[in-house]
């Protein structure tokens, strides 16, 4: 009994033990290096334990927590992301010096939230995990170092937190409607009981409000307004975290709830279509004129949230697995871009596109990482971004949303312009030889760059087994008990 519990709950136990160890470490001397080392070991142990428990299946805590292939591969993705983020935050220069170790503590606690999120099938467990994953991120934004006359990070943190807390409130309010309708907090049961009344105003209001809270995390238009400001105000490492993990987490919850609607549900399809089109156009058009690289990625996030919704417009298994595949790939593409940003940045400052000039001479590996990350975001084969977009478009097309598919393709073309500007700056843009110091990379950064490139390419060239695995694992989520 207890052995089975440990086998199913191993990743969580490892992560919790690691986070508590980081907490203890932050209380003593020489805190930064040790906190980072302990975090690194925790992340590695998390990845290994996820691999060990990949095939285990269990329902824990009286039906509130489901461990199956779906949750375990998500935990694996989160674990690899965690590892990458720790390597990315090499010295976390841009965090206030006296509180640097706490960066790793908050990062670990936030990761715990995401790992719990992957398995939560009870509304209350889900909400609490979501809070656990987002509260430390609010703090990470505020922890950026102050510069002369610059308190941008506080403004960003306040925006992020106010909107975040409001979005959580809206989501809870929606969930209370759903609970009132179904009188259960278990999500599979809730979804099952919602299906007959899905067209009723109360179910629509409940689902709508719940989704609104999640769209905030995903940065879908019109819940996007915090995104560019927070990316710009947060330190480079923090922005990398905010850009990657919460998006995948939000998609996971969306999948769990979207199973309530059948593909021929006209109203929900139409709402999602409008949101997807608005996000894509808004994000891509505004990104065209950005100069700050992080702000550019912020607007491109909004556009990517729009692409992801294509899978939800289809409202079937193919669509859901395409969305999940795309978001998993997105996690690594965007992390690749942020590795380059945080290494190119001088003393942790924000990076403008012009700062990339001559990057191929200053550091060929960074330039290569940037190009692959950007090409993947733009959706150029053979990287994962292309296969992900292809799967999404395919899923939407199969359900007959031809206009939506055409609009998405147009958007991909618009986006190519500003993505290629970044590539142009890194390879062809030239500036006077004043600022052409080579960038020295340490071993862990090299390993991180090569690892991220390998993941982006591998996921892109072998889409079939990955998508098949996701679809198989989805069966237990989408199928109503």
């Amino acid at each position: 009994m207890i052995q089975e519990f440990i086998m199913a709950f191993l990743p969580e136990l490892v992560l919790l033990a690691g986070v508590l160890a980081v907490f203890v470490v932050t209380l003593y001397n020489d805190r930064v290096a040790r906190a980072r080392a302990v975090s690194l070991a925790t992340a590695a142990a998390l990845v290994v334990s996820c691999l060990i428990t990949l095939r285990s299946e269990a329902t824990l805590f009286d039906g509130a927590y489901r461990v199956d292939l779906f949750s375990q591969w998500l935990k694996l993705a989160f674990g690899v992301g965690y590892l990458a983020v720790i390597l990315l935050g090499r010295r976390v220069d841009d965090i206030r010096p006296d509180i640097r170790p706490e960066f790793f503590l908050f990062l670990g606690i936030s990761m715990t939230g995401f790992v719990f999120l992957a398995s939560s099938i009870d509304a209350i467990t889900l909400v609490v995990s979501l809070e656990l994953s987002s509260f430390p991120l609010f703090l990470l934004v505020a922890m950026r170092r102050e510069r002369e006359g610059q308190r941008m990070q506080m403004e960003s943190a306040i925006k992020f937190m106010m909107f975040g807390v409001a979005a959580n409130g809206v989501m809870l309010f929606g969930l209370s409607y759903l609970y009132g309708l179904t009188s259960t907090t278990s999500i599979p049961l809730m979804v099952q009981r919602l299906q007959p009344v899905i067209d009723g105003p109360l179910a629509l209001a409940g689902l709508g409000l719940t989704f609104a809270g999640l769209y905030y995390k995903l940065a879908v238009f019109p819940f996007h307004f915090w995104t560019p400001d927070v990316y710009q105000g947060a330190s480079n490492e923090t922005a990398g975290i905010i850009a990657s993990m919460p998006k995948l987490g939000a998609v996971v919850i969306l999948v769990r709830f979207a199973a309530a609607a059948t593909p021929d549900n006209q109203l929900i399809t139409e709402i999602l279509t409008v949101l997807a089109v608005a996000s894509m156009f808004y994000g891509n058009l505004v990104a065209l004129v950005q100069r700050d690289l992080k702000r550019l990625l912020g607007f491109s996030t909004i556009a990517h949230a729009g692409y992801t919704l294509l899978g939800f417009v289809a409202l079937d298994e193919a669509g859901f697995s395409a969305s999940l595949y795309y978001m998993t790939g997105y996690l690594f593409m965007v992390l690749a871009c942020f590795v380059v940003i945080s290494r190119v940045s001088r003393d942790g400052e924000n990076v403008a596109i012009e700062d990339l000039h001559g990057l191929h001479r200053r550091s060929p590996l960074l330039a290569l990482t940037m190009v692959i990350g950007i090409f993947a975001l733009a959706g150029i084969p053979p990287f994962v971004g292309f296969m992900g977009k292809f799967a999404l478009l395919n899923a939407a097309f199969a359900r007959g949303h031809t206009v939506l598919v055409i609009l998405a393709v147009i958007n991909t073309a618009i986006a190519a312009y500003y993505y290629l500007r970044v590539v142009h700056a890194s390879f062809f843009g030239d500036r006077d030889a004043t600022d052409q110091m080579p960038i020295a990379l340490d071993g862990s950064t090299r390993a991180l760059c090569i690892g991220l490139i390998a993941i982006v390419i591998l996921l892109g060239v072998t889409p079939a087994p990955v998508i098949d695995a996701i679809t198989t694992s989805l069966a237990s989520v989408v199928a109503v008990p």
């Binding site: 908050f106 909400v127 609490v128 009132g180 109360l202």
Partner: protein, 184 residues
């Protein structure tokens, strides 16, 4: 009798809520909030949710409102000047209010037959079922909430910590040569 009591306590709850919003003095608002909470506790008793009623009085009418009062008195909040809405704002507010009311009315008319009626005794009704749920289904969230409190506590310390001396404090990274005399 039941009906009479329901309407009586509903009136007390709503009247209290109205006074919370309309009072000029923040302390008065907080005290009227207690009236509202007590009315709601009475409504819970009518629904046979005795435990929830006790919690309502203990936690909300007791602890939370005392916290409000503490903050109000600590910050010495004066009853603010009455702000007048401009023509446009009043118009916009009227439209927003109308939309809200019409939305609520549409939402709650004609859905009675389609709803699954909530069971009279929910999880929070009896101490036994509440405790049972807390230690089975909701065991994990309860523990996770502890982690949330840890985050809140460390977060407050981290954000309110002042960096007074130009030299970095004990244990910080040696690279700390900048950031003189700034505060959080």
């Amino acid at each position: 009798m039941q009906d009479f009591l329901f309407y009586l306590f509903s009136a007390i709850t709503l009247g209290g809520a109205l006074l919370v919003v309309t009072s000029r003095n923040a302390v008065n608002s907080a005290v009227f909030l207690i009236v509202t909470f007590l009315g709601m506790a009475a409504l819970f008793v009518l629904l046979e949710s005795y435990f929830l009623a006790v919690l309502q009085v203990l936690v909300y009418a007791g602890a939370v409102v005392v916290l409000f009062l503490f903050i109000i008195m600590l910050l010495d909040v004066k009853g603010g000047r009455r702000r007048r809405l401009g023509g446009m704002s009043a118009f916009a507010a009227a439209i927003a209010g109308l939309l809200l009311v019409s939305g609520v009315v549409t939402l709650f008319t004609g859905i009675g037959e389609r709803m699954t009626p909530a069971t009279a005794t929910g999880v929070g009704a009896q101490l036994h079922s509440f405790g049972y749920a807390l230690f089975t289904t909701h065991l994990l969230p309860m523990q996770v909430t502890g982690f949330l409190l840890l985050v809140a506590m460390i977060g407050v310390i981290v954000l309110s910590k002042r960096l007074t001396a130009p030299t970095a404090p004990r244990g910080a990274a040696p690279a700390a040569g900048e950031n003189k005399g700034t505060s959080a």
